[in-house]
């Protein structure tokens, strides 16, 4: 009886081991196939995006050329004439020129700025700071 039981458990153990091994091998196989499938699917996705990127780049280049054409002086001049807008360049007296900070600005405005700064309660700031604050 005892030996029979022993033989039965041994047989069950072997079957279980075999089953686990088989299942493991099957799982590895299925996992491998699944992973491969994922790789191909991802590859396809990348390819689609690459194609879309290329198409967008091509379109951008085409639009850049179109934009350049629309911004060209030849085109704008023709459009102005077509629309009969009567645009003319401003006269000198209609132009206000702002002086850029620099030696010319310093020479013209710095003497006026320095005394004004000295009148304030605080000690007079160095000239360079006045220049920097304008």
């Amino acid at each position: 009886m005892r030996s029979n039981r022993k033989r039965e458990s041994l047989r069950f153990g072997n079957v279980a081991k075999s089953l686990i091994t088989c299942l493991s091998i099957a799982a590895i196989g299925v996992g491998y196939v699944w992973q491969k499938n994922q790789i191909y699917r991802l590859g396809d996705e990348i390819k689609k995006r690459e194609t879309a990127l290329t198409a967008t780049e091509k379109r951008n280049t085409m639009l850049a050329a179109q934009l350049a054409q629309l911004k060209s002086p030849v085109y704008l001049e023709a459009r102005c004439q077509q629309a009969n807008l009567g645009l003319v360049a401003p006269k000198e007296t209609q132009t206000i020129r702002l002086l850029e900070p620099g030696p010319e600005w310093d020479a013209r405005f710095l003497p006026a700025v320095q005394p004004a700064a000295q009148k304030t309660a605080k000690p007079a700031k160095p000239a360079t700071k006045v220049v920097a604050s304008r």
Partner: protein, 573 residues
């Protein structure tokens, strides 16, 4: 015969099977071991494909970033005649309207020998999509870049054009080809049964590198102004050719360079070679009176004359070395200043002969850069003709001061005038501002370059004093005067030489700069053989100069020295 026993039959089957399996094993060993390399290569060749990718050619932009040239993706439509031959007439009928080709031509190509024939180049994406929808077997679509110039002929001589292989042929396209052309890449891919790429099996991938972008000093608005004014001059005076150059004297930057006849770089083959030549750098001519600036500035620089020194201009005819030299108008005694603004040939010749001398004149000719290329980044530049002193004849010293016996390009003359405008400093002409990568980072910057100082600041200021009077009512170019601005310049009217003889055809030119006290721009106008009566530089090129200067000063917001009185009244009201 004794029948085979069960045992024998079994033995026979086993023997047969053993032999079959042995043969199979031998074959497998042969295929997998002995022919492995060859067969694996063949298998890879069937499965894999090397796809070459062209690098996009860089863009050309103006100084404000406006696009002047770029490359657009188009397609080449090709066919495999081994597939299309059987059904060629039907395919040709379907393709002809899309490819805008004649059916017989298409049939001939579709039935040709080999496995590859190009049907049409430069087919746009939309047309390709329509053709693909026809689902014609045996057609192949390849990528190609098409160089486009959105502004058409604007600045065509500066930009140049490319050949069918996208290689620069002329202008900046050729001069900076090494920066503009991209580097091709490739990838080894696998395709499935339907011809689609299996992205996951991509083997090697080396992407193409796009070309660098070139930024010019040219301003497309100023270029347009120059083109319009030159076109007007061509319509009015009907010259054979014309040139306008606008530059900044202080830096040598070229803001505009326009030539007539011109061409459209989008279709350069439709224009004659003559129209494609950049005359500003590749054509030489005797400059005529504009060259008087060299002898006069040289003499002032050496201190051998002052502006007030007087010369007898012999009332229009002076005999020297057995030949008579004429003035266009007879003058008596003129000061150096008057010689310049009246443009007296005899006066200029006498300064050369009696004061400066041949050796010093030659020194100044070389110092101003004549006989040398300026070094601008444009191909096809010539050095002009400045004979060495040893080759001068006895007449040369009287002829060269008035711009004969010497040949210069318009650009050389412009740079010489710029040197006078720039306190005596001769600058190298700059037409390329920078080279940028795709992230707009500068790869190379082209800074202004001071070549040398042919004359001192004092001499240049003295010259400016005299040249200011050229555009005054008493000078040779009152029509070049620009309202509100102090203009300095010099006219030139040079007789053309045909078959070794001077003929009654002229190069009319004017080179000037403004504001004279602090020059912001300089402009050269030169017309080759104007017809219809007027041919003097002051009457023909002077008004063109004024037309360009008025618009450019306004565009660049250069403050006038003499604001208009009428305008002030309007402003007060």
């Amino acid at each position: 015969m004794k029948p085979l026993t069960h045992r024998h039959r079994a033995l026979l089957v086993v023997t047969g099977l053993s032999l079959a399996f042995t043969a199979l094993a031998c074959r497998l060993v042969e295929l997998h071991v002995f022919r492995h390399t060859e067969l694996s290569r063949e298998a890879a060749a069937n499965r894999e494909q090397v796809v070459h990718q062209q690098g996009r050619r860089g863009e050309i932009r103006d100084c404000n970033g406006n696009l002047l040239a770029n490359s657009q993706s188009v397609r080449i439509v090709a066919a495999d005649p081994s597939i299309t031959t059987s059904n060629a007439p039907a395919i040709a009928r379907q393709l002809a309207p899309w490819l805008k080709m004649d059916e017989p031509v298409l049939v001939a190509r579709l039935t040709g020998p080999g496995k590859y024939v190009r049907l049409k180049l430069k087919v746009d994406e939309d047309t390709v999509a329509q053709i693909k929808a026809l689902k014609i077997k045996g057609l192949v679509f390849e990528d190609q870049f098409l160089r486009t110039y959105p502004n058409g002929p604007l600045a065509s001589h500066v930009i140049g054009f490319v050949d069918v292989d996208n290689k620069g042929v002329q202008g900046i396209e050729a001069g900076l080809d090494k920066y503009l052309s991209g580097v091709a890449g490739y990838e080894i891919i696998e395709r499935d049964r339907k011809g689609r790429e299996i992205r996951a099996n991509r083997d090697e991938e080396i992407g193409p590198r796009d070309g660098l972008n070139v930024v010019l000093t040219v301003d497309q608005v100023i270029q347009h102004i120059a083109e319009v004014e030159l076109e007007k001059a061509m319509a009015e005076f009907h010259p054979q050719a014309g040139v306008i150059i606008v530059s900044r004297p202080k830096t040598g930057e070229i803001l505009a360079m326009s030539c007539r006849p011109t061409f459209d770089p989008n279709n350069p083959g439709a224009f004659p070679a003559d129209a494609r030549r950049n005359r500003c750098v590749s054509d030489v001519a005797e400059p005529g009176s504009t060259f008087k600036i060299v002898v006069c500035s040289g003499a002032l620089n050496d201190g051998v004359v002052t502006l007030a020194d007087r010369f007898d201009c012999e009332h229009g005819a002076w005999s020297f070395a057995g030949r008579i030299l004429h003035d266009s108008h007879p003058y008596g005694v003129l000061s150096v200043e008057e010689i310049l603004f009246h443009s007296s040939n005899i006066g200029a010749a006498k300064i050369g002969v009696t004061k400066l001398g041949a050796a010093r004149l030659y020194d100044y000719i070389r110092a101003y850069g004549f006989g040398h290329k300026t070094g601008i980044d444009l191909p096809g530049e010539v050095s002009g003709i400045a004979h060495p002193l040893a080759k001068w004849n006895p007449l040369s010293i009287s002829r060269i001061p008035m711009g004969h016996e010497i040949a210069a390009t318009p650009l050389q003359m412009m740079m010489a005038m710029n040197a006078i405008a720039n306190g005596g400093h001769l600058m190298k002409p700059v037409i390329v501002k920078s080279v940028m990568d795709e992230n707009n980072l500068a790869v190379a910057k082209f800074q202004p370059q001071d070549v040398r100082q042919p004359i001192t600041l004092r001499a240049s200021l003295l010259m400016a004093t005299a040249l200011r009077r050229v555009a005054s009512p008493e000078g040779t170019a009152p029509k070049a005067a620009v309202k509100g601005y102090d203009v300095a310049g010099k006219t030139g009217t040079a007789e053309k030489i045909e078959n070794g003889q001077y003929v009654k055809k002229y190069y009319s030119s004017f080179i000037g700069y403004l504001p004279a006290a602090d020059p912001e721009i300089s402009i050269l106008v030169s017309l080759d053989n104007p017809v219809g009566g007027a041919y003097y530089g002051g009457s023909v090129a002077g008004p063109v100069f004024r037309g360009v200067a008025e618009k450019v000063t306004q565009y660049l917001a250069i403050p006038p020295q003499f604001p208009d009185a009428d305008d002030k009244k309007v402003a007060k009201l």
